[in-house]
């Protein structure tokens, strides 16, 4: 009996699916063959453990789904009492001290201001005169500029829409409106527009570019933009495995599109270690889109600019997102930009994961 046949027989035996005759025969075999007997015992134990494991895993994902669903419906809500409570507590405690300090500060300021105005000479008239002249020149310049702009716009009016066509995908790094995308999508752009899956458009600024990694960071600077809740996905620091199933969301056309595939090589074009190769169908517009593993962790960013071949797609590995952020922080210490490494989508069904991720993926258009 081959090993597979044996396992098949053991499984049917455990599940009680054997015919009575078969059963008698199998029990006879167990009695005469100690090795098989041992295997039956071992396999029974193993299958018990496996089913136990599977049951718990299944429950875990059910729990996550129920949690999300209930918080979506507002039946459970997150509480953030610690931070607030501490603040209120401190406020209550130091309220009087703060009030006294404020009064003193106010008095001092007034004193200093009156002192300065009393002591300083009065060159204000001259300055005002100069300023008026300057204002007039500026006004003239403005009207000239507007005219030039007008003319230029009339010239460009027809071609402007076409310019915006060069686009790709990007997704939120945090809740403050930082979006990551491919640098090549917006290489020559001055104005960038992002739009979400509902088609709402927001203006954005390019704040950081790394052409070598082909990555760029945008910041949505539109007042109309309200970030959608909490980011459900995390960024993976781990190396991905060959054949691991992956999926992506992107904008190959104006509507958001889901595709799935697998990791087909650990390196990219010409053994490039920056990227890895995916077996997934993606178009130009997918460029800059997030690549997720089954747990909803981002393992890379699609970047299919080098290839014209079909079904061969490269993705920049997520570890370079971390590198990019390190560089970005070094150059822009005033921004605080933190990304999560924890995905709350672990174990959830794919439909659910996609539903949750969707609001965070944007169409990126540059002129």
């Amino acid at each position: 009996m081959s090993e597979y046949n044996l396992i098949d027989a053991i499984e049917r035996y455990i599940r009680g699916e054997m015919t009575p005759a078969e059963r008698v025969q199998f029990e006879q075999l167990r009695k005469t063959n100690a090795d098989i007997d041992q295997q039956v015992v071992e396999h029974t134990y193993f299958m018990k453990e496996l089913h136990h494991f599977a049951g718990r895993k299944k429950l875990k994902s059910l729990l996550n789904e129920v949690h999300w669903q209930l918080s979506d419906q507002g039946q459970i809500h997150e509480m953030h009492s610690t931070g607030k409570a501490k603040f209120i507590y401190l406020w209550k405690r130091y309220r009087r001290v703060a009030a006294i300090a404020a009064v003193f500060a106010g008095l001092t300021t007034l004193g200093v201001i009156s002192l300065i105005s009393a002591l300083s000479p009065n060159p204000q008239q001259k300055i005002q005169l100069l300023k008026r002249e300057f204002d007039e020149i500026r006004k003239e310049q403005k009207s000239q500029k507007a005219e030039v702009k007008n003319l230029r716009e009339q010239l460009n009016a027809s071609s402007k829409n076409i310019h915006y066509k060069s686009g790709g995908t990007g997704f939120l790094l945090d809740e403050k409106g930082f979006i990551i995308t491919n640098a090549h999508i917006i290489r020559k752009s001055k104005n960038v527009i992002v739009s979400n899956y509902k088609g709402e458009e927001f203006s954005a600024k390019i704040i950081f570019k790394d052409e070598q990694k082909d990555l760029a960071i945008l910041k949505v600077d539109d007042k109309a933009f309200t970030p959608p809740q909490k980011i459900p996905y995390g960024f993976s620091r781990l190396e991905s495995e060959l054949a691991e199933p992956v999926f992506t969301l992107g904008y190959p056309r104006n509507e958001i599109v889901y595709t799935e595939g697998y990791l087909s090589a650990l390196t990219g074009f010409n053994n490039d270690s920056l990227t890895c190769q995916l077996g997934i169908s993606a178009n130009r517009g997918n460029s800059g889109g997030p690549v997720f593993n089954r747990d909803g962790e981002i393992i890379g960013i699609l970047s299919n600019k080098e290839t014209e071949a079909e079904g061969v797609v490269f993705a920049i590995r997520s570890k370079y997102i971390f590198h990019l952020l390190d560089e970005f922080k070094k150059e822009n210490p005033k921004f605080s930009l933190k990304i999560s490494e924890k995905s709350v989508l672990k174990g959830a069904s794919r439909q659910f994961q996609v539903k949750k991720i969707q609001p965070f993926v944007f169409l990126v258009k540059g002129d």
Partner: protein, 191 residues
Amino acid sequence: MKQSFDEKALLEGLLNHNPKAVEIIYKESFHSIQSLIINNNGSSDDAKDIFQEAIIVLYEKLRSGNLNLNCQIKTFLYSVSRRLWLKRLQVQNRQYTTGDSLEPVIQVDDELELQKQRDADFELMEKAFQSLGEPCKSLLEAFYIHQLNMQMIAKKFGYTNAESAKNQKYKCLVRLKKIFFENYKNGNRDE
């Protein structure tokens, strides 16, 4: 029609992964546990973790054939969560600030002692799965956890037919079993 559950039906529902039952348990018990944790140096995420861990303790208890709770589900979950959170605070050297609330509490130390062993068993299998590699890992998960049938698996993974998917599943199962028992014998349990 609104489905109604008494406590016993809820427990059975939990054991059988019934979404409605899990939802009811969640709605009835989550809030008191969340406020316990948040008032004691925790976050909403902590509350979610601890609460789900407590449900798993309950699930394991039911699985082991013990369907009698001797108290309300809510009380059991609260007691387990409280104990788990105290432990975690101890590990992180943080303090448990407020005294106990008015929620009733039962003794759960024995149950948590049993849970330790179950967690170790679970991790042993998890570890075996982790070192299994793809596509075996996904294939076995599809069959045993997501309970897809062989036709669906063949389609999803691109096998020509259900029979060859089944064959592949056996190969993977044998590999998983081998890794599992190797770890088992190497005493990886204590790691």
